[in-house]
């Protein structure tokens, strides 16, 4: 049994069926950003049940992501999702909203709860408070540096999950930018976000996924895996939802191999993998905020030491 956990997130049943999930230990199900995303697992009980069964038969852990910015009218749907999760006995629910967290704690005490990156967790007192509400794993805000995350992990004695590859979420809006841009007036969603729309300005290149704006560059931590492991992180996520169907499998396989080497005490050379990752990601790479720099910067291992 490997001493790390590698996970990814998938939004619909058909995406799971066509994604190679073999490199992953666990999968987060459902789109936490938009309730209108068609066939969203978070809104569809039958699909969710099938997805859970499929993952269970593959011996994977199943987590469910709940909607990240529920307004008052969305609370019923959040409650419904929590009861499905309890019924299907999923391993945990990822929650980005403190209202949903409170509801889960009060009404579904049996559920294991994770707190997601959109909950804006920045400090230890906040994490301690969230632990009282039953959180057993957190994904700190992306803006936190690795040092800060390590301190939180050690002082609060909680699992901290890291995004090691994939695009970061840089903001969530209450309306769909794509629908707005195309002056799309009908209520039904045309699934515009499944196509590649980008926002380009003189200084930035961003991917827009309807209601969320994502970094144009992929966060890539392969060069820094030894440091990540030295700091004691064990739970890693690869974000692949806005990518093509082979992305998750290809990147997952590379990271599984790399992590096995790096944690197993074998010789680990990140440069065996870096060119392939560069090829897979259609844009440049960055390190996010892990080294207290701008999110779009890439720091090499040489610059760190």
């Amino acid at each position: 049994m490997a001493n790390f956990e590698l996970s990814t997130s998938v939004f619909t049943l058909s995406e799971i069926q066509r994604t190679d999930i073999s490199p992953f230990d666990s999968v987060y199900l459902g789109d936490p950003f938009c309730r209108d995303y068609s066939k969203n697992l978070g809104e569809n009980r039958e699909d969710l049940k099938k997805a859970v069964e499929l993952l269970r038969s593959n011996d994977k852990k199943v987590y469910v992501s709940s909607y990240s910015v529920p307004r008052n009218d969305d609370l019923d749907a959040a409650e419904r999702l929590l009861s499905w999760c309890e019924e299907l006995k999923v391993d945990a629910v990822e929650i980005h909203n403190f209202g949903t967290l409170r509801m889960a704690k009060n009404r579904h005490p049996g559920l294991k709860l994770f707190v997601g990156y959109l909950a804006n967790v920045y400090t230890e007192p906040t994490v301690m408070k969230l632990k009282v509400f039953g959180a057993s794993r957190i994904m700190g805000n992306y803006e936190l540096s690795m040092e800060e995350l390590e301190t939180i992990k050690n002082n609060c004695n909680i699992d901290v999950e890291l995004l090691i590859h994939g695009k970061m979420i840089l903001g969530i809006s209450e309306t769909c930018l794509l629908k707005r841009r195309l002056e799309h007036k009908e209520d039904d969603c045309m699934d515009l976000c499944r196509r590649d729309f980008h926002l380009v300005s003189s200084k930035m290149f961003l991917r827009t996924f309807g209601r969320v704006t994502m970094s144009g560059k992929d966060v890539c931590m392969i060069e820094h895996l030894p440091e990540v492991i030295r700091r004691g992180f064990k739970v890693f996520r690869i974000e692949s939802f806005a990518e093509n169907r082979d992305y998750a499998g290809n990147v997952g396989r590379i990271y599984r191999k790399a992590l096995e080497e790096a944690t197993g005490g074998k010789d680990f050379n990140p440069y065996n993998y870096l060119p392939e990752l560069q090829k897979i990601s259609r844009s440049n790479l960055c390190n996010g905020y892990y080294f207290a720099t701008s999110g779009q910067e890439y720091v090499t291992a040489g610059q760190r030491s």
């Binding site: 008052n72 209202g99 804006n120 007192p125 970061m168």
Partner: protein, 367 residues
């Protein structure tokens, strides 16, 4: 609603970005003032005041029996929290009425240490459902600011939030942000630097909207939308515009809004004075439909002036003449705005003093 029952008048909360602005707002009848101390609130430091000025404002507002809230709404680092609490304690002894905070951890700590100090949950939390309001109430908060997004500020939506035991507050004048407040990291993605700070925070993450308040306002800059086929559409501004909900004041108060807030600690005193004067008149005549319309029109012109300021802001950030004209053109094309632009341009002292400072800050990191 029974027309015989008069609408409960909401309290008016105004920015005290400087002593002058506070004096002006006081004269015009503001009920609550909010201000942050340099380094500790979400504003670029050029628009923040130091402790001495804050204490002067505090003395002034207390003398006239008004309330003052201390803004402590950054997402601090863990090691800054003791210093933040020490500052709150000092200001509590000086007489502040409430603290505006956004981190659950900090809110809990404040409530634990100073149980009699009221806590106002900042707009940065984007609290928009009953359960979330209950969450903050359990932490010890008594007033929550609703997010600045149009759909959230719909009276029907607010009615559903009323009655949890925490007071509801909203921005009447402000920016309508692209993303939910506190859920936008575009600025720090573009540029973020750890710089030494001369305040007690020691160093700050310049460029992060959540951690420092210095935002590059990416959503106000022009960008291009690239379609899947590679087709490019130019000239998009992501942000929708400004929030000016004067005409909705009555339905919003009926729905349960207790405090209306005006954004703009960076505004010159003269502008704060005008906005506060007219909003005060609007609140006082809340049940009188006839007088309302006249003020609303005037107020909307004022908000347009704010857009001119935003354009200036952009010009300074972009430091390019061409982008200035691109931003200013839509404003100049309208005659009313032309006059307002001229008015704004006629106050060079303010522009020189504050914007120059801001520009210096931008230069420090805009490599």
């Amino acid at each position: 609603m029974n027309p015989a029952v008069p609408t409960k008048k909401p309290l008016l909360m105004v920015p005290a970005g400087s002593l002058k602005a506070a004096q002006a707002a006081l004269r015009e009848g503001a009920d609550i003032f909010y201000a942050g101390i340099r380094g500790w609130s979400l504003r670029p430091t050029a628009f923040e005041i130091d402790e001495t000025e804050f204490l002067k404002i505090l003395k002034l507002t207390k003398f006239f029996g008004k309330k003052i809230f201390l803004t402590m709404n950054c997402f601090y680092r863990t090691d800054e929290i003791p210093a933040a609490l020490a500052l709150i304690e000092k200001m509590k002894n000086a007489g502040i009425d409430a603290v505006i905070a956004s981190q659950p951890g900090l809110i809990r700590e404040i409530h634990r240490r100073f149980p009699d100090l009221a806590i106002n949950v900042s707009v940065q939390t984007s609290a928009s459902n009953r359960q979330e309001l209950e969450f903050y109430k359990e932490l010890g908060a008594s007033l929550v600011v609703l997010p600045r997004n149009f759909p959230e500020l719909d009276p029907d939506h607010i009615k559903k939030l009323a009655g949890t035991g925490v007071g509801l507050e909203m921005f009447l004048v402000g920016d309508d942000s692209l993303n939910y407040d506190g859920r936008c990291y575009l600025s720090s993605y573009l540029n973020q630097k750890k710089i030494k700070d001369d305040t007690e925070r020691k160093y700050c993450m310049m460029g992060s909207a959540n951690r420092n308040g210095f935002c590059y306002l990416m959503c106000k800059r022009e960008c291009e939308v690239m379609e899947p086929g590679g087709e490019i559409h130019r000239g998009h501004i992501l942000r929708r515009g400004d929030l000016a909900l004067f005409s909705k004041l009555k339905p919003l108060s009926d729905a349960g809004i207790e405090v209306v807030k005006i954004q703009g600690r960076e505004f010159p005193a003269g502008m704060v004075k005008l906005i506060v004067r007219m909003t005060r008149r609007l609140i006082d005549s809340i049940d009188d439909d006839s007088s309302e319309k006249e003020y609303v029109r005037e107020l909307e012109h004022l908000v347009r002036l704010k857009q001119v300021i935003s354009a200036n802001h952009l010009r300074l950030l972009a430091k390019s003449r061409s982008s200035f004209w691109r931003n200013i053109r839509p404003v100049i094309e309208k005659p009313w705005d032309n006059i307002l632009t001229a008015l704004w341009m006629a106050f060079p002292f303010y522009r020189e003093l504050r914007w120059k400072k801001y520009l210096n800050e931008a230069n420090k990191i805009d490599t």
